[in-house]
């Protein structure tokens, strides 16, 4: 890269850095924005999926004859008729699905599986001329199940004699197909504990949290000969196309993936999903376009959510508060398939290098776990930063002083492209008025309604990497930008247009964006890992630079001519760690007689490099914080231990935040330009959710004087502290 690489203050720019409403804001407020379910194709059929009512069962027989006889039913498929590998649904080691993973993975998942391993797993699908008929047909499918023993708890699942979900046992397999925990050792943990003046041990747990995007998942499949066109809400059209082609045995160019407007992402949608395959198979079978719609409950139980965890921590400290060793032994509940890693983050934010992490990703007969916005972070940060907050108070220290003493800083061996964590914390202390709001003696406020303050801090990777962009200009100075992005909410289309307008030095209104269609757009990494701005955005910069050079050399195109430039840069940070930083400060009011907890002040300070468009960036943080508050106080998926039935599927059951539950979130960005990414921009989208559970829990401790160790911190748990 030829950019200047010194960290410095941001230089003002023409288009970038100003509050700009989205280029598609009008479509979004008029009902003109077309989502996948809004697409209608001639002769389109409606499809529904029949799902397992059992947590673990073998299918002994399926009788579809009565359903088939229903007039208007056009296709019915089951595991008996269609054995299609659903590769991205279960991957050794939990990496991105690819050819190697397809070969290696022993715990392979199919579009329809037998045995079924969780309540909500697909067993059959019907396409019919309308959705009422499709639903009626489901009722007529008869399935003989042989119920099998099930297990819901990750620790129980690893005990001898637990019902085996796979022949190899219930510990998930790694990349080599070996049942091994993840994690690792650094430094000398034993020596670290020996050097400690005190050693603290504690257990923290976090609950399953559904991604729960507002748009229930769906897929519209249409075959033209042997070419499949798939309209599907995905965070990555490119991965989605490759995954589906791999599973259907098609050449990649035989699959076109189109993602229209998408009703929320929040993770693990940068790829294919089984409903893509089911829609494609039904459409083939029925010889007509098929729209498969998941109901809210189908979506809730049949997709994925953040893995729940049990985390046992052991931390050694010196009397002055210096952490000397950290040990984490943990279990992540993954459901019966390993869709993602089950990792747990948080220890990296500390300077202590004597660390042992042993994490067991465990199979259970609960629904499948996967990535949700910062996949391994909020649950990890909740546990370790609660643990450290507790230690700080036990040593009589201010948690801010404890953080400043122990947080990770750049070293000569481990350099960062920029580092602002200390500044984030100091700014937060000041904006929040930490000294005034925190109670040095937790729980000391008299009366049943108690206030208290808590904080947490973090760093999170902000990668750079390959992605592509194409930009074209015509004789009327209209610029068309082709980028393979989808717009799941943060506003990728607008960001890409802003970058192009900036680099080309033209008005934003001169830039049109073509997006969301694999047949029209070049490769993009997809909207996961908060990478679109940094990676695809940087490709836009390079393509625009190339176009400018062409214009300078050849002049603007005349008549019907156009000039076209493309770029696929592969930038690197030359071994330096590129991170975003943040510190959150929360005040809560806890009513220990009613159990109610209310957030009364929330200050979020973030450094995400240069902020390209402050208007949506602020809302990325505010929305993410509120999702984190939901994880802290509300959301869970409870199961009935007697029969393995999920009890709280849905917004109401999981007690999602409403307008009335949402406090105002104050966001401050510290801006830097480290010379990487487009104009120094770093990751934003996931960063905001990481700290809320930890900061809220620490504030509750400060208010009531009892450490809440299990998420969500519900009313009954707060009430339990006074018994």
């Amino acid at each position: 890269m030829s950019r200047q690489q010194a960290t410095g203050p941001v230089r003002p720019m023409n288009t970038v850095g100003h509050n700009v409403p989205r280029i598609d804001a009008y479509e979004r407020v008029t009902g003109r924005a077309t989502y996948t379910r809004d697409v209608r194709l001639p002769g389109m059929l409606y499809a529904r999926v029949l799902r397992s009512p059992h947590p673990h069962a073998r299918i002994r027989g399926i009788d579809v004859s009565r359903a088939e006889a229903l007039p208007g039913v056009r296709a019915i498929i089951t595991h008996e008729t269609h054995q299609v590998v659903y590769g991205s649904g279960s991957i050794a080691g939990g990496r991105q699905y690819n050819d190697a993973a397809k070969d290696i993975t022993k715990h392979r998942r199919y579009m329809f599986d037998n045995p079924v391993r969780f309540v909500g797993q697909p067993v059959a699908a019907v396409a019919a001329v309308n959705r009422h008929l499709a639903e009626a047909a489901l009722e007529l499918i008869e399935i003989a199940y042989e119920e099998l023993p099930f297990v819901l708890d990750p620790e129980e699942a690893l005990e001898p004699g637990a019902p085996p979900i796979w022949p190899e046992g219930n510990l998930a397999l790694d990349y080599q197909n070996q049942p091994r925990p993840t994690g690792g050792r650094a430094g000398d943990p034993e020596a670290g504990f020996q050097a400690a003046d005190q050693v603290f041990e504690d257990r923290y747990t976090t609950a399953f949290v559904q991604d729960a995007q507002m748009e229930p998942r769906c897929a519209l499949a249409h075959w033209d000969g042997d070419k499949l066109t798939l309209y599907t809400p995905t965070q990555g059209i490119s991965n989605c196309r490759h995954d589906n082609a791999r599973d259907l045995g098609l050449d990649v160019h035989q699959v076109q993936v189109i993602c229209k407007y998408m009703g929320g992402g929040f993770g693990d949608k940068n790829g294919s999903y089984y409903f893509d395959l089911i829609a494609a198979m039904l459409a083939k079978e029925a010889d007509a376009p098929v729209l498969l719609e998941l109901s809210r409950k189908d979506d809730w139980l049949g997709t994925h959510g953040r893995w729940h965890t049990v985390q046992d921590f052991k931390v050694g400290v010196k009397q002055d508060g210096t952490v000397t060793a950290i040990q984490l032994h943990a279990y992540s509940g993954m459901g019966p398939y390993l869709r993602r890693s089950g990792g747990i983050s948080g220890t990296d934010a500390y300077a202590c290098r004597n660390v042992e992490r042993v994490i067991y990703p465990v199979h259970t007969n609960r629904m499948v776990s996967g990535n949700f916005r910062a996949p391994s972070d909020p649950q990890g940060y909740f546990a370790i930063q609660s643990m450290m907050d507790d230690i700080a108070y036990k040593l009589g220290m201010d948690p801010v002083d404890f953080a400043l003493k122990n947080m990770r800083r750049p070293t000569e061996e481990d350099p960062f492209t920029s580092y602002t964590l200390e500044e984030c914390i100091e700014r937060g202390v000041e904006l929040f008025d930490w000294e005034r709001r925190r109670r040095p003696e937790p729980g000391s406020e008299p009366g049943p309604i108690k206030r208290g303050a808590g904080m947490a801090f973090m760093m999170f990777r902000s990668g750079v990497g390959p992605s592509s962009a194409i930009v074209r200009v015509d004789s009327e100075e209209r610029y068309t930008l082709f980028v393979g992005v989808t717009d799941i909410g943060p506003g990728a289309k607008t960001t890409m247009a802003l970058i192009a307008a900036e680099e080309l030095d033209v008005q934003l209104s001169q830039v049109e964006v073509v997006w969301g269609d694999t047949d029209r757009c070049p490769y993009s990494v997809g909207e996961s890992g908060s990478r679109t701005t940094t990676m695809t955005g940087y490709a836009v910069v390079e393509a625009a630079r190339d176009l400018k050079t062409q214009i300078a050399e050849r002049g603007m195109p005349q008549g019907d001519d156009v000039l076209i430039a493309s770029a696929t840069p592969t930038p690197s940070t030359e071994g330096r760690r590129r991170m975003v930083f943040g510190a959150h400060f929360v005040e809560v009011e806890a009513d220990v007689l009613l159990g109610h907890v209310r957030v009364t002040k929330y200050v979020a300070v973030h450094e995400s490099g240069r902020i390209l468009n402050p208007l949506p960036a602020k809302d990325q943080i505010r929305g993410a914080v509120l999702q984190g508050v939901g994880q802290a106080l509300h959301e869970d998926l409870l199961y009935d231990a007697r029969n393995g039935q999920p009890l709280t599927a849905g917004y109401y059951g999981a007690r999602h935040l409403t307008h009335l539950d949402a406090p105002e979130i104050e966001v401050t960005f510290i801006e830097t330009d480290d010379g990487y990414g487009p104009y120094g921009a770093k990751t934003v989208g996931e960063a905001g959710i990481i700290l809320a559970p930890a900061a809220v829990a620490n504030a509750i401790f400060n208010a009531i004087g009892h450490r809440m160790k299990d998420l969500p911190i519900t009313r009954e748990k707060v009430l339990g502290t006074i018994v």
């Binding site: 409403p21 407020v29 007529l140 507002m214 029969n643 917004y651 949402a662």
Partner: protein, 226 residues
């Protein structure tokens, strides 16, 4: 939180049970569909759900003779006379039969509010309102908010304040807020939150949505149903 949710805008009666509150009627679709914990996760088809699966002949007979009736309904100022199946929801009528796909289905069971439209000026969940109930009444959807090619000041405020993130809940948020501004042209932020408690946003862009509604209320031609 449960207590707060009972103030949902969809509620008409003050003393109905919590389940009934969210569905907007005496008898709830959600309760009906979910049944016991062991019931299957298949949504829809409530008529068929409640009975033992009949033999094929009975089934065919019933499907062949789905009750229908003629209704007259005004949608976004245009009167439609049409025959609808008794089982159609208002949302199906709008999306599938009138091509108005602006109103979304987020849950189809009265939990989320993405399907909110105005029925004679009052916000209702169109997923939990039968099409036949709209007979003789006026429906306003998000597609009907523009006047002579101009967006309403509420829509403009939603654009200016980044109120939509993914945008899927936006049509419902706009309709509830339109009704609110009609009856209370200058609501406080707290009044906005109370009125809109029945419209969920998983992007959790609640702060921006409230700011947009309050900002629209400060303008001269705020909101307003026809």
């Amino acid at each position: 939180m449960e207590g707060q949710r009972e103030k949902g805008t969809m509620s008409r009666s003050g003393d109905a049970s919590r389940e009934n509150e969210r569905a907007g009627g005496g008898f709830t679709r959600r309760h009906f569909l979910e049944g016991t914990g062991a019931a299957l996760v298949v949504a829809g088809a409530p008529k068929l759900r409640a009975v033992e699966v009949p033999d094929e002949g009975v089934f065919r007979q019933e499907l062949g003779a789905v009750p229908r009736r003629a209704i007259r309904v005004t949608v976004n100022g245009t009167e439609h006379r049409m025959e609808v199946e008794d089982r159609w929801t208002l949302n199906e009528l709008l999306r599938d039969h009138l091509g108005l796909t602006g109103s979304k289905i987020g849950c189809d069971r009265g939990e989320c509010g993405a399907c909110t439209v105005l029925l004679d000026g009052e916000p209702v969940y169109s997923c939990s309102t039968l099409a036949v109930w709209a007979d003789g009444r006026a429906v306003l959807t998000v597609e009907g908010l523009e006047r002579d090619g101009d967006v309403s000041s509420l829509q403009q405020a939603f654009m200016d304040h980044n109120a939509p993130q993914c945008g899927f809940c936006t049509p419902g948020q706009l309709m509830t807020a339109t009704a609110l501004l009609e009856r209370n042209p200058r609501p406080t932020a707290e009044e906005v939150r109370e009125a809109m408690v029945g419209n969920l946003c998983r992007c959790s862009n609640y702060n921006a949505i409230v700011e947009a509604v309050v900002a629209a209320a400060g303008t001269s031609k705020s909101g307003g149903a026809p």
